[in-house]
């Protein structure tokens, strides 16, 4: 019996300025089981980042509740790791020190020192341990950001388009690493992505959102067994299905299989 790790109940988040009001999230309900992999897809501005920030505890909803294992989320916690849409690495720390930041912040660095090298291996940045963020490529920086979030062993990992800047090989590599991690640590992951293939390849469920106001329009369960084959018949039919939903929602069809 799989327990519920995250419950989102009737969330509303409205951004108000003097002259305009944006309903970023409108009545969001979602319940995530431990060990589940959830992807959130939807066009730009539909509230994906807003939702992730609320789950992280970086922001508060106007109404509704977020519960982690039954307890209300009120502030950020290392049990919920966050990989930011834009790197967010500390410029004054080396690759190695950035990865170790979580350990130092929690004051558990001494006993976990060895983990830093493990994560450098994991993201394949050997030889760049002493480099500063501005000296490595955008894709490398994004990998460091992932390692930095992973080193705390979060039970819930929130990833906001972490692979946008990566080439397809590194991306496939990291996707497999995420699956491996999910299986090994029974970690729960929520991934925001614009890549439908990525969402299908990784997810147990895909949450499709629509903008203005930001709403969940559909939740699709992907029942394919792992490892999934990107060229498989079922894979392709799911992809077609998702893309058609988007084409219906948007005015004109998109040339690429990207949203």
């Amino acid at each position: 019996m799989s327990d519920v790790i995250l419950e989102i109940k009737g969330i509303n988040r409205i951004y108000k300025d003097e002259d305009n009001t944006v309903e970023a999230l409108n009545d969001i309900n979602l319940s995530v089981k431990r060990g589940e992999f959830i992807s959130i897809i939807g066009s730009s501005g539909c509230g994906k980042t807003t939702l992730l920030r609320l789950i992280a505890g970086l922001d508060k909803p106007q109404s509704g509740k977020l519960l982690q294992s039954g307890e209300e989320i009120i502030s950020p916690d290392p049990s919920r790791g966050y990989v930011f849409q834009q790197g967010g690495l500390f410029q004054w720390l080396t690759v190695e020190q950035n990865i170790a930041a979580g350990l130092k912040a929690r004051r558990v660095y001494k006993e976990n020192k060895h983990k830093v090298a493990e994560y450098i291996d994991l993201i394949g940045l050997n030889g760049f341990e002493k480099s500063y963020p501005h000296q490595i490529s955008g894709g490398m920086a994004q990998r460091v950001a992932i390692a930095r979030a992973l080193i705390n062993d979060p039970e819930l990992l929130l990833l906001d388009e972490p692979m946008g800047a990566l080439d397809s090989f590194t991306r496939a590599d990291i996707q497999d690493k995420l699956l491996e991690l999910k299986r090994g640590n029974n970690a729960t992951m929520i991934l925001v992505t614009h890549d439908v293939d990525e969402a299908i390849y990784l997810s147990d469920r895909i949450v499709i959102m629509t903008p203005r106001p930001g709403k969940i329009s559909e939740i699709m369960e992907i029942k394919l067994p792992h490892p999934r084959h990107r060229g498989g018949v079922e894979f392709l039919s799911i992809r077609k299905n998702i893309l058609e939903k988007f084409h219906m929602a948007s005015a004109y069809p998109e040339p690429e299989y990207r949203i």
């Binding site: 950020p76 290392p78 790791g81 967010g88 500390f90 720390l93 912040a105």
Partner: protein, 342 residues
């Protein structure tokens, strides 16, 4: 990893004839100054040449002056040989050759008009050998005053920076502190520190502590205001990243806000450094029992302008060494910025 690309130099590792000529040219000016000092007789009668003995070595102003020139020659020859084996260093050395040659010639002319002929208005403009007399006749006193200045500077500057960084961070972090302290900082900051001298002298037990106080407040202002602005300009996203990693307030302050503010803190420190030199010398001239400013004042009373020049030379050397030292610390602390900003 810092990647610097160097052009392969064709004659790397060889001391070629051209560069030897550059070295000779560099030192030729100083050599000419030595020869001028030896062969031009003392024409004006206004200069008395006394002998000073240091541990068995007897020097007069001329032999001491030649010794200084010889030291310069040795220094520039050594730098030249050291630079000969690297293309960039050779280029830099070659670029400075003209200036160094001219400096030697200028010294020779100064020696001629200042000491040998005494055509410059006396006693206001002594020759270079005349200035050296200050170091010969009262080296102990000069050193004692230099150390006094150095100690005053070090104590005042270190306390000022510590105090400035501390209050700057508090002002940058707590909106309440910003509200109440910024006006104080701005008003106190525009007043030259020496204006507080009369208060300082009555409030503090010794002239030394009074001068330290003046240096502390003149350093405090730029360091505190720049540290505050550095802390305030930390992007929210960086704090959020730290919080999701489990960072509490102390981590946010010491591992996010302060490192982020470091470049600005150093801008403040560099500004403060210049302020501190001025305050130091003025404070010393206004009532200290020692220091180079005091030495200048004391010498002026006796119209010993050569001593004033000597003190100015010591200040120039001391202050540029301090500035260099701070620059070294800065480039070490901010090494993560290398290649990020120009």
């Amino acid at each position: 990893m810092r990647i610097s690309y160097k052009e392969p130099s064709p004659n790397k590792g060889r001391l070629n004839i051209n560069f030897i000529a550059v070295i000779l040219f560099t030192i030729a000016g100083f050599a000419a100054a030595i020869l001028a000092n030896i062969f031009i007789p003392q024409i004006s009668a206004g200069v008395k040449i006394k002998d000073y003995t240091f541990g068995g070595i007897t020097l007069n102003i001329n032999s001491a002056y030649r010794l200084v020139l010889a030291a310069l020659i040795a220094l520039y020859t050594a730098i030249g040989i050291f630079s000969a084996f690297d293309k960039d260093r050779r280029k830099k050395y070659k670029k400075r050759a003209q200036f160094r040659f001219a400096a030697g010639i200028a010294l020779a002319l100064w020696d001629l008009f200042g000491t040998k002929l005494q055509l410059l208005p006396q006693p206001f403009f002594p020759g270079p050998a005349g200035i050296i007399e200050a170091f010969l006749s009262e080296s102990g006193f000069v050193i004692q005053n230099t150390l006094y200045s150095l100690r005053l500077f070090a104590v005042g500057f270190i306390f000022g920076v510590a105090f400035g960084v501390g209050t700057g961070i508090i002002i940058g972090w707590f909106p309440k502190a910003y509200y109440w302290l910024t006006p104080v900082l701005n008003i106190a900051g525009v007043v030259p520190a020496v204006a507080w001298m009369p208060f300082a002298l009555t409030l503090f037990p010794t002239p030394f502590t009074a001068a330290v106080f003046l240096i502390v407040i003149c350093v405090w202002f730029p360091v505190a205001s720049l540290a505050a602005s550095g802390v305030q300009s930390t992007p929210k996203a960086q704090f959020e990243a730290a919080r999701t990693l489990g960072g509490k307030t102390s981590y946010l302050v010491f591992h996010v806000a302060i490192p982020h503010a470091m470049p600005q803190i150093f801008t403040g420190i560099n500004t403060a450094n210049a302020f501190a030199f001025t305050t130091l010398v003025m404070a010393e001239m206004m009532g200290q029992p020692g220091g180079l400013g005091y030495y200048i004042n004391a010498s002026k009373v006796w119209s010993a302008y050569y001593k004033v020049f000597a003190a100015i030379i010591v200040m120039a050397v001391m202050f540029s060494l301090i500035t260099k030292g701070i620059g070294l610390i800065e480039s070490r602390v901010l090494r993560w910025q290398r290649g990020l900003v120009k």
